[in-house]
């Protein structure tokens, strides 16, 4: 082998070795690299006990309630399977909205999270307000259609048989 080829093999082997080592380290850390737990993991008792941790998910539609002091907020974080109620006293970020992503940090007592910090998590979609409006209307129309179908369904199915 020429010296040049030797150096090439040396670099290739070194790179594969480092990639393998980093890969194994990340594999060992896989749970710890995640930023937050999902509400389902909280119900499965996969979260640290008596320590502050983060829960991430969506703010459940219609769950946001403000108390009279104007600063305390109650809402529910859901992963559409399980949900956790959250109490938070403080200022919410701009992107905090019902149906949108959220990450809350705090401790869970009796199934309720007392949050010290609430962060909004943005999605990857960028569109003008008109387009967002049209999407919302289309979705509403779709759910209306879906709601209309079950009432017809029993009539349709016997005919098909």
């Amino acid at each position: 082998m020429k010296p040049r080829q030797k150096r090439f093999v040396f670099i290739a082997v070194a790179l594969v070795g480092v990639a393998l080592a980093v890969g194994l380290v990340l594999y060992a850390l896989r749970g710890n690299v995640n930023l937050y737990f999902t509400p389902t993991q909280v119900f499965n008792n996969e979260v640290p006990k008596g320590r502050s941790f983060r829960i991430g998910g969506l703010v459940e539609e219609g769950s946001v309630k403000r108390e009279k002091d104007g600063l305390t907020v109650n809402f529910v974080i859901t992963d559409t399977h399980k949900s956790i109620p959250v109490v938070y006293k403080g200022i919410l970020p701009d992107l905090f909205k019902e149906g949108k992503g959220v990450v809350a940090q705090g401790t869970v007592e009796n199934g309720v999270m007392r949050a010290e910090e609430v962060l909004a998590k943005h999605d990857e979609n960028y569109m003008p307000p008109e387009a967002a409006d049209a999407l919302k209307k289309a979705k509403a129309a779709n759910t209306a259609d879906a709601a209309a179908i079950p009432s017809n369904a029993p009539v349709v199915v016997p005919v098909a048989k």
Binding site: R4, R7, F8, I11, A14, L15, V18, A19, V22, L26, R30, V33, N34, L35, Y36, T38, G56, I91, L92, P93, D94, L95, F96, K97, K100, V103, E117, V118, L119, A120, K121, H122, D123, E124, N125, Y126, M127, P128, P129, E130, A131, A132, D133
Partner: protein, 245 residues
């Protein structure tokens, strides 16, 4: 007609070629920056959720992409220099590093400025942000290691090895939002399509092209200085018109 590429792998010939190319890249970068900013500020509509705040992506996204691309280009040149023992490749790697570090700082900084009003925090130790910060340290480590060794050829080899090993970090940055749950949102520009309004896309890709041209122009200007510095004792440098006077 076949172009003899090897002719330009010698610093002697590349010095002149780079000098001729710089104005073209710099000029087109300036035009594309102007066009991109115009589309970004006046044509692209406002975002449904973020209002006007989202416009930071026109600099944040190109800067983040460039910080990763440039690292791979730098590591590629470093590997070429190590394998083929070509002087120019190592010089190119050193010329790219400061621009890459600059783009990484811009990416982290604009992200923090956006994160405060939108997420509610300047910084979060999630996988995407932490790995991007490590990228900045790799760039700074490359520059520092190269500067700490007096003999240029030895410095080239040591820094090249660091650059190659560090390239493992780039795929981690890119896939971090997929492999783990993070505060940073997932990719908007995917190979399967882009979930973004067309005028916003135009502004972003124009800015990306402008950043590319800027990076090339600056790297070429810097490699010319490096050539001058390292070959200062040679005859061809002494005979350059700009040196003679």
């Amino acid at each position: 007609m076949a172009i003899n590429w090897f002719k330009y792998s010698a610093p002697t010939t590349f010095y002149g070629l780079a000098g001729k190319m710089i104005p073209w890249f710099a000029f087109s970068a300036a035009i594309l920056f102007a066009v991109g900013l115009y589309i970004g500020f006046f044509i692209a509509p406002m975002d449904a959720q973020q209002g006007e705040f989202y416009r930071i992506i026109f600099i944040h996204v190109p800067a983040s992409m460039m910080s990763m691309f440039l690292y791979m280009v730098m590591a590629g040149y470093a590997a070429l220099g190590l394998i083929f023992n070509t002087r120019l490749s190592a010089m190119m790697a050193s010329a790219i590093a400061p621009t890459g570090a600059l783009f990484t700082v811009v990416s982290l900084w604009t992200g923090a400025l956006w994160g405060k009003p939108m997420w509610g925090t300047w910084w979060m130790w999630d996988a995407r942000m932490t790995s991007e910060l490590i990228l900045l340290f790799l760039y700074l480590g490359f520059i520092a290691l190269h500067a700490s060794i007096d003999e240029p050829r030895r410095a080239d080899r040591a820094a090249a090895l660091l650059a190659i090993v560090g390239s493992v970090n780039v795929p981690i940055i890119y896939f971090s939002v997929k492999w783990w749950n993070t505060l940073h949102q997932g990719a908007t520009i995917k190979f399967s399509g882009t979930s973004m309004h067309i005028a916003m896309q135009q502004a972003m890709f124009t800015m990306l092209a402008a950043c590319w041209l800027y990076a090339i122009a600056v790297a070429l200007a810097r490699v010319r200085s490096i050539i001058l510095e390292r070959e200062r004792n040679t005859v061809w440098i002494a005979e350059l018109p700009e040196v003679k006077q």
